[in-house]
Symmetry: C2
Subunit: 358 residues, 2 copies
């Protein structure tokens, strides 16, 4: 059977002041009226039934996750005692799935992305699942790039492989590339065989575990003892021990870049990782002046602005390309080009122990 | 004796969201830690004792004015039932002074200006008072212009008149000019004999009343019956009647531009009428990046900004030449060049009956 594992570990500080340690990105309704994690679950409908959906999140977010996803069985919300990047998260989920179903196929996907064309998203998943049913095959979804984005990692497929026209199909991966500089991103775009790395993976649970065992033996050794503890009274303690022992590493870097039978399904389904307020601006509907507003806002002689008002009336005069996000206790006013720097401010707040604000 | 009349009738909507109908500009501490009206009183010390200071304000601001100026006798706070520009305000004050002192010399000055050099301000007032002691002489203070400002009216003095070097002395006025366009303002500056019209006047109470009688007979007729009612049980009613009958007109336009013995004392004492947030920016101390901050604000990669934070933390990233004023229920984000337009927003709020915000 096919299962989904929603990875909801992040705290998304780039969406400060809306995102806080107590209210990370996946719980924000930054794109439409629903939270990102709820939309992530919704768009799996038709591919994976809710009772076969699992979520891995930090233990402090378990309750909020249950509130947000009441149709997901409570026992499917897996708590991490500490964030250790994606490899441990996936190892934990794979072990859980195997305990339930030795033939489990697992779709692992982030909780905080946006997809606009769900039909095409489903087709890509189905193509990936078909490929992943082959023994020890690891599949990722690659997004056909629309511009030379420097904020994403890339996957290059083997352009020698036959492609059946437009149909989504799994192609052998030649290489993975980290976030490129602007020049390299241009080159990637021109090449035609580089795709954006979506962070969405499909594999059999046993296959990814074997790959972890081979390429990330330390992670494997940390998690191996869990096999006997899962479902038992020692489960929480065993998980805490596994995370304490495991290194922090991504599945991309730790496994995908090193494994052999790695495939990518090239797809385009209106995907965005919604990395910062500028990405939110790009996603939202704009008026004639290019402004996009939520809440009680009056704009005068202003254009290309994003305003998220909250309780207060927000007035902009003569402002352009500006992000204004107002919350009860903090306000952000930011040039659209500077949205990435929001993270630095949160780092500053942390460094200065201004707990009330991060 | 010399008296001061502080004109505190305005509602100063250009300082929205700090200024409100319930909290007009004169009650704001927009320049330093004191309200503008309190500073206006303080800077009269040494020229006019507090018990000889009068304030004319809208009746709704009488209590707040008393709170702000506890050293001014309560009976010196004169209530206007409605704003009718400066001519009625001055007629009322002149009648009150005459009832007390037939030789009263009156310094009339706005409540919401800023003066940085109080010593030179005093010298200018003293020169004006000396001149105003001559029969039927009306004196205004003119500010030596430092730039071709289009936001002020101008006064031209008679350049044929002898000037004693740097000493402040009263010179005959040749003409008054309304706020000029940019080109005209340049010409005024180049001419050397145009001064900014400060709105500060000095005259004998009887002299200005005679001038009102001659040049604004309708105003005079409206206020004449007050002579007998002042101090009596019908005072409030009589004042209400006078204002109801009086046209709304400024003393500049109604009297100064038409009268004969009009003099100006050219002076420079760091004066500003603090007309909008840009003027506040100009007045405040700036850091190396040209930013000036009040309250809890963090600026990153930002320059030449004015931030007035209130309860909330305010964060600016990549912002330049921006005014951010945060209050409990409303927030302004404004380009410094657009500060004049704040008034339009308040007009909009009024037109849309958004009472809670204006």
């Amino acid at each position: 059977m096919v299962y989904a594992v929603i990875m909801a570990g992040g705290i998304g500080s780039r969406f400060w002041p809306q995102s806080r340690e107590s209210n990370p990105k996946q719980f924000l309704a930054i794109h439409d009226e629903n939270t990102l994690i709820r939309n992530t679950l919704s768009r799996l409908q038709g591919v994976v039934p809710d009772e076969q959906v699992f979520v891995v999140t930090h233990r402090r977010y378990v309750d909020r996750t249950r509130e947000q996803l009441p149709s997901v069985p409570e026992e499917n919300i897996l708590a991490e005692p500490v964030g250790r990047n994606t490899a441990p998260c996936i190892a934990l989920a794979a072990l859980q799935l195997l305990a339930r179903d030795p033939d489990a196929v697992m779709i692992a996907l982030p909780a905080d992305h946006v997809v606009r064309n769900v039909g095409r998203f489903h087709k890509a998943l189905q193509a990936a699942v078909r490929k992943a049913e082959e023994k020890d095959t690891l599949v990722t979804i690659g997004i056909e790039p629309t511009h030379p984005e420097t904020g994403y990692g890339y996957v290059q497929y083997d352009s020698q492989a036959d492609r059946n026209g437009d149909d989504m199909e799994a192609l052998p991966v030649r290489t993975f590339a980290e976030k490129p500089d602007a020049e390299t991103a241009e080159r990637f775009l021109d090449s035609g065989d580089f795709l954006w790395n979506s962070g969405i993976f499909v594999w059999r649970a046993d296959a990814i575990l074997r790959a972890v065992q081979r390429h990330l033996p330390k992670v494997f050794r940390a998690f191996k003892p869990l096999r006997n503890a899962l479902g038992g009274p020692q489960e929480t303690e065993a998980i805490a021990e596994a995370y304490a022992k495991s290194p922090s590493i991504s599945i991309d870097y730790g496994v995908m870049e090193r494994a052999e039978k790695v495939f990518v399904v090239p797809a385009s389904f209106g995907w965005s990782d919604v990395g910062d307020w500028t990405a939110v601006y790009a996603l939202r509907k704009k008026d004639k002046q290019g402004n996009t507003l939520k809440g009680n806002a009056i704009l005068n002689d202003s254009s290309r602005c994003l305003v998220d008002a909250n309780q207060r009336l927000v007035v902009l005069i003569g402002m352009h390309d500006t992000v204004v996000v107002d919350t009860e206790d903090a306000l952000l006013v930011c040039n659209r080009e500077s949205a990435q720097q929001v993270k630095n401010v949160v780092d500053y707040l942390r460094a200065h122990q201004l707990e009330e604000y991060f």
